[in-house]
Symmetry: C2
Subunit: 310 residues, 2 copies
């Protein structure tokens, strides 16, 4: 299975490391997604470097492209690959605005390619295990969900202040929290109201009405102090009729009729590796839906208006 890498932004190196564990994987090349990337970033792949992904594709005829350019360009490059029937494993958000997303979904579906995206955080072991427990009825009927992403800002590329290249903090970071909400509840998103401030948006809030009278919120920020013990403070708290579960980066705390327990799961599927094996841990349908919710939330925050999702 011939695999090429387009771009080295985001989590493409995580995909690379996972795919190295797949015996059939043959890495045929890497190329920048655009002039916004520095060639040094590609060298760490330790595979043949091309300066043009178009030429790389032509020369190597890959089966799979791992697409991870400057975030705002993902959709264009996915489209380029889909039109050439190359399977795609790409960064999220898979499109930079709602109209690009709609066109891309159509292109991908018509192409028949195997398509997935780097929703890696659903497969962080604590979230993955807790989500399974909740979906299996472990806290009764779900009523309320709060999800959190808090990161250190650190040093980030200059293009984070260019919306057309960065896409925004809700689509780039908040989408993971939106993904968790869906993964835990499996409920449709009905309405969104969101707020964000800064460039890049340094803090954001989203509030969702889901089907079956479930309500959910997301808070995102880039203000985690440099002194904090971990890069991120990821959380989800799910309140049900029979218990409350709260997931932190490395553990979940469950309170139910039997009392309180703390669990540190360590096992979860490897998304990128499983993708190569043809397993669908997350479907293309889900990815397009989650991207739509995230981009709609960004629009809600931009317009400061509540939005109904159709």
């Amino acid at each position: 299975m011939k695999i090429c890498f387009i771009g080295s932004c985001g989590h493409s190196h995580k995909a690379f490391r996972e795919m190295q564990k797949c015996p059939d994987a043959l890495f045929v090349g890497a190329a920048p997604g655009s002039e916004h990337e520095s060639p040094e970033d590609l060298e760490s792949y330790d595979i043949k470097i091309y300066d043009s992904y178009r030429r790389m594709i032509e020369e190597t005829q890959p089966d799979v492209a791992v697409v991870s350019p400057v975030f705002g360009l993902t959709g264009q490059i996915v489209k380029y690959c889909a039109e050439r029937k190359i399977d795609v494993f790409c960064e999220k958000p898979v499109a930079s605005d709602l109209s690009e997303l709609e066109a891309l979904e159509k292109t991908v579906k018509e192409s028949g390619i195997h398509f997935s995206a780097m929703h890696f955080l659903r497969f962080a072991p604590s979230f993955y295990a807790a989500g399974k427990l909740v979906r299996d009825g472990g806290i009764g009927q779900i009523k309320l969900v709060n999800a959190q992403k808090s990161y250190k800002y650190g040093t980030r590329p200059h293009w984070y202040t260019d919306r057309s290249l960065y896409t925004g903090t809700i689509p780039w970071v908040g989408i993971h929290a939106i993904d968790w909400i869906y993964y835990f509840t499996r409920k449709r998103f009905l309405t969104i109201d969101a707020l964000h401030f800064g460039n890049p948006e340094m803090a954001a809030l989203c509030q969702f009405e889901l089907e079956d009278n479930v309500i959910a919120s997301v808070n995102v920020d880039y203000y985690r102090p440099v002194t904090a013990s971990t890069h991120g403070d990821d959380r989800i708290r799910v309140v049900g009729t029979e218990g409350v579960i709260e997931v932190f980066s490395d553990r979940y705390v469950l309170i139910n009729k039997d009392g309180e327990t703390v669990n540190y799961p360590t096992e979860a599927p490897m998304l990128a590796c499983d993708y190569l094996f043809g397993r669908e841990e997350i479907t293309a349908e889900e990815i397009f839906m989650l991207t739509k919710v995230a981009l709609s939330a960004r629009e809600s925050a931009d317009r400061k208006q509540k939005i109904r999702i159709d």
Copy 2:
């Protein structure tokens, strides 16, 4: 100083216990606020019981009335007292809807009475100390706030399902979280979007835009399992440009440039006692504003519409 008690719902017994520490306090009587209360509840005051608060007021000519009836009747009884120039220390919410609130604010101001309300949770030692630290600049400029109220439902009176008597979960419980947001930030509330479900509302979410680009959220639920170690899981998390502080029921965790510290404050003013001494830990202006925000949030949730606060 002659003090009477009207009603025994809510936190009137906490007010009673605090006021007992005030040497000038003379407890002249207690009476139900309405037929919805059971006489046994009044007996625990261990003072003379009247069956009518009107007759009690006429006979005892009190200086202060502690007003804590079925929640929806608070405003009417406060009005009755204010019109007789009796100082009032009452339960929150101080009014049951926005029009009653507007009229009550006018009546109270014109009466010149000393007026305060049972926003006790601002004075929970961990919240009080953390709020002071944040207002003194301990985490830089505030950007994002999340506040939580989670309670066991336990056994509650039948009138919790009657909106006209209960007022609703956002005005009754959520108002404490709204109070914290204001106490920590001192920012004006500009817009509200809220959601709630159930009768009584068993879960609620509020999202606020505050002035100076500060964003805030509240989550409330009554689903805390009976097995949990405490009745409530109260929290506020405040994210600033120079640090993050998170308050739990009994402690606060601060992460700033010096690292992470956990603190267990034990000291805070006694609101009811200080009220008798004429000290203003919370002003009447603040109480009316906070009640307006809470009642507006309930309206937003009822209508499922975002509301601008004028």
